[in-house]
């Protein structure tokens, strides 16, 4: 079991981890389970963590791997084709998209829904890089891919978001 100092340091990232977990699972209860499982694994494998390296990225990495292992099969992912291209015929807009003049839906919710429509690879990268403010190198560590791929996915994620938000009349300049 991890020592107390390690545990204290990991708990500093609890809110960030939970926030990402909510956007990944889209379910508060599952998010809690995901985060708890993440910490359980982190404590169990704390000896594998190299002091001096980025603990936050390590924790995010565990959370994402845990999500992919246990939770991803539950959610309805947009069809994600090879090369990261979305199957636009099936997933061009929300299933419950409001009419074009739908101003009743709050923009905040629209953005959240638009984000949820993104493939996990895009969504996680956006959240880590843009919301959590992780450097691209750390995002690349979490995602297990090169930094160039992270940049490419961020760009394409923004394009998708722009396309989704147009359906709601949301202004989003890219």
């Amino acid at each position: 079991m991890a020592d107390l100092e390690f545990q204290r340091q990991t708990l500093e990232h609890l809110n960030a981890l939970y926030n990402l977990a909510v956007y990944l699972t889209r379910n508060g209860s599952e998010a809690e389970d995901l985060v708890q499982e993440t910490y359980l694994r982190a404590f169990r494998f704390s000896h594998r963590f190299q002091p001096g390296t980025n603990l936050r990225a390590w924790m995010f990495q565990i959370l994402r791997n845990t999500f992919l292992t246990f939770y991803r099969h539950r959610e309805r992912e947009p069809v994600f084709l090879d090369e990261g291209e979305l199957d636009t015929e099936k997933e061009t807009m929300f299933h419950d998209a409001p009419p074009k003049d739908g101003t009743t839906v709050e923009a905040e919710t629209d953005l959240g829904r638009a984000l949820a429509q993104l493939p996990e690879e895009f969504r996680t990268i956006l959240l880590l890089a843009q919301v959590e403010g992780l450097p691209l190198e750390e995002v690349a560590q979490v995602m297990g891919c090169p930094v160039g791929t992270v940049k490419s996915r961020i760009f394409r994620a923004k394009e998708r978001l722009r396309g989704f938000l147009k359906d709601y009349g949301e202004e989003f300049k890219g």
């Binding site: 079991m1 545990q7 708990l11 939970y18 809690e32 905040e108 953005l111 919301v131």
Partner: protein, 261 residues
Amino acid sequence: MTAEEFREDRGEEAQFRRLLVARLPRHAAPAHLRGRISALAAPPRRAAWWAPALSAFATALILALVALPLLPRTVEPDPFRSLVGAVLSQHTRSLFWGERRPEAVPAALPRFMEETGIGLSWFFQGDDQIQLINAEPLIVEGRRALALTYQDTEGHTLTYMLLPWAGMALPEQGRVKVDGFRPLLIQVDGWSIFVWKQKGLACFLVSDLFSEQDLARFKQIFLKVRLGTEPSSSSRSFDHEGEGHQSVGHQHHLRVSEVEL
């Protein structure tokens, strides 16, 4: 990329980030989740080495307490009752499977006495009412026994069995007075059994003379057998059961020493 394009790109990047941060709700971890995770981090209480044994013992105790009323009562077996049962079994066996060979008894008896260690100075050979039809060595309840089988004129078969007494107590309840003797009379399942001690031997006389009328006859037969048979002192020490003897008429007993081998 020109410097202007780079600035635009950076500006767009910053705008996009601000939009996301501003528009996307940020979810804070609930307090109970923090508590659960803190509990995960707490070192587990080390179980005491005796905990599994204590748990098993407690489980067994509870099961025993629950099952105790349901368990059959284990009553200490009464050796005397067991012996009576075994004697009855031998009697019924001889009824069904016993041979009738009165002519062979005198010749075979000395060998049977030697095999069983139960010596008879003389034995009741029968009279005009009852006839000795067989003798055989037996193992009854792990003891060597000698059985003499009689048959009366009405076809009732009686088994007279002698075996080591081995310190058993003869119950007082059920004793009957037959002349000067006080044998125990047991009547069970249509069988009547006289039991007495004689020279350190347990003696059983079994018959199906069960009714009150038959019982009077059975007592007469008992007297004939009791007085007509004498275990030798060499086989067991003398253990006098009755206070007095009365002679019974028409006794036909035979000294073993007189038997031709």
